[in-house]
Symmetry: C2
Subunit: 322 residues, 2 copies
């Protein structure tokens, strides 16, 4: 692979002139441009993006901060990497394990222009600290931030959960359990609210015995099903924090010989591949759309133009488990 | 959050002295150290890792290059992020979409000391080009590289595939189809070899009609099953490139009312959560162990000491689909 120096030497023009051709500057005569481009082609020259970005004050890289990696985050990442890629931006993912020092390093990378913008998927840093870096470049988040300077593409899970509840209630299920995730999360609070409102609307009692929490994985779902099997007063349906939990409950029910949905209806959340494959009724979470919107929120600063946000909504995928 | 300047001002010592305390230098009196540490604590001072890393010529960051993100890669990434994290290193993931220019940017980041080492999961760059960056820092790969300067943690899939074949053949299956991935990949070649050797060992014919290729996803697996249903001369068993494909075949067989394993035995590869949940017989691929070994291969350069590699082997997880 040739370097800029070699192209300059071979063409007989200065590095500055070669560089102007690369950057599409108008201050080069058409004839010079033609000669230099011909030599670049002949030499199979690959421009070094770092050299270009230095001259433009840009890296064409967007940093993405995440505490951990899981299937849902993978889905979001893939959507974002694709959206950013379409506009010529590379995504660099900072894994932090929830270490505020590592998050700070990513924020400092924005300050030092190592990245042109930041997308926060999940973080432990205070919104105030994050917002203090807004002066160095655009920052958006997936996680809800509740800070005026950090736009977020988070959706209110109340809506999605309410859809799932309405579906179960109109099918006549009244004894409905909940497998929640992190008890203190805004999502869990929204789901609880949706549950309590729906039960009230149908004049049904809220039984806190049917609030499971810190349920995240397939193994957690299997455990929940085994614990349900030992109860005398068993629910007829269960709403899950995500599709993994639902998959665990479905597969354990199959092993224990419990009929789904006759004896237990099961609803997941997110509509992952897993839910499709296992035929699980679930709430479609437009994650790829949120990722696309995250890029669009960065667009004014990165592209110098605004891109309209896509309208997004939860919907229901009704399959064999309800 | 306080800055180094503030700590210097408040303590009455120079920035250089405060910096020496931060870096654990011995050239500071115990009394001075005590005073400065007390003020840092009082001010809730978070040292800026960039400042530290500049002084040490280290970033404590390892770059990971990947063309795309999928479940298996996620599994590897999680293993690596954890191994690296235990030794104080943050992992930064460069997504490239198979763009050689973006790979080059990551390689250049090693040269410019933005990362201390590189791990290549999948790339399109030539091993020669990658190896030319070895002088700037350690580089290891997951993908097979076949280059003396780039150690790889790739395992020969021949071994794993041979285990699966032996399992099917000893159970009496003789008409065995293959759902391969990328036709030109070293993995596919190794699997074909394993297949042809096993069939020869059992004096069975090799029927190329049962070589499916470019089969990667759940949807691909569903399509393969539908195509099998239309064949007169149907195989009794099918070996899949990964668990996603196997899951697609299993779920489509269920929909079409084809008995598994009575009418069709199915074996996956990797032993992902999906295979466990759906009860699919599969080959255990020690991906987390490979990730741990990848870090250990970087250790001499990063930690100044060698760490012994873990011995790894494929094994079989026999479940309900065989």
């Amino acid at each position: 692979m040739s370097t800029l120096d070699q192209i300059a030497k071979l063409s007989g023009f200065s590095k500055a002139t070669v560089s102007r051709v690369l950057n599409g500057s108008r201050h080069v005569s058409p004839d010079t441009r033609k000669k230099i481009l011909a030599i670049m082609k002949e030499q199979d020259y690959v421009p070094n993006r770092n050299a270009i970005s230095l001259s433009k004050g840009r890296t064409q890289q967007i940093g993405m901060i995440t505490m951990n990696l899981n299937e849902l985050i993978l889905h979001f990442m893939n959507g974002f990497v694709e959206s950013a890629g379409r506009h010529g931006f590379q995504t660099i993912i900072y894994t932090t394990g929830g270490d505020s020092q590592k998050e700070l390093q990513a924020l400092e990378d924005l300050k030092r222009k190592r990245v042109d913008g930041l997308l926060i998927l999940t973080s432990v840093s205070s919104p105030g600290l994050i917002a203090s870096y807004r002066k160095y470049g655009p920052i958006v988040s997936w996680q809800r931030m509740d800070h005026p300077d950090i736009p977020s593409v988070a959706m209110n899970q109340f809506e999605g959960y309410a859809l799932a509840l309405e579906h179960l209630l109109t099918r006549g299920y009244t004894r409905i359990a909940n497998a929640f995730g992190r008890p203190s999360s805004i999502n869990t609070q929204s789901r609880r609210e949706a549950y309590e409102q729906a039960m009230a609307a149908y004049s049904l009692p809220v039984d806190e015995q049917w609030y499971y929490s810190s349920i995240y994985s397939i193994a957690d779902g299997e455990r929940v099903l085994r614990s349900l099997m030992e109860q005398q007063n068993r629910p007829e349906a269960i709403l899950c924090a995500n599709d993994l939990v639902a998959a665990g409950i479905v597969s354990e029910a199959r092993r224990q010989g419990l009929g789904v949905p006759e004896n237990l209806a099961i609803v997941g959340f997110d509509d992952t591949e897993l839910a499709k494959t296992m035929g699980i009724t679930t709430v479609r979470n437009p994650v790829a759309g949120q990722a696309e919107n995250a890029f669009r929120l960065l667009a004014p600063a990165l592209l110098g133009k605004a891109l309209a946000l896509q309208p997004l909504a939860f919907s229901l995928a009704i399959r064999e488990t309800t």
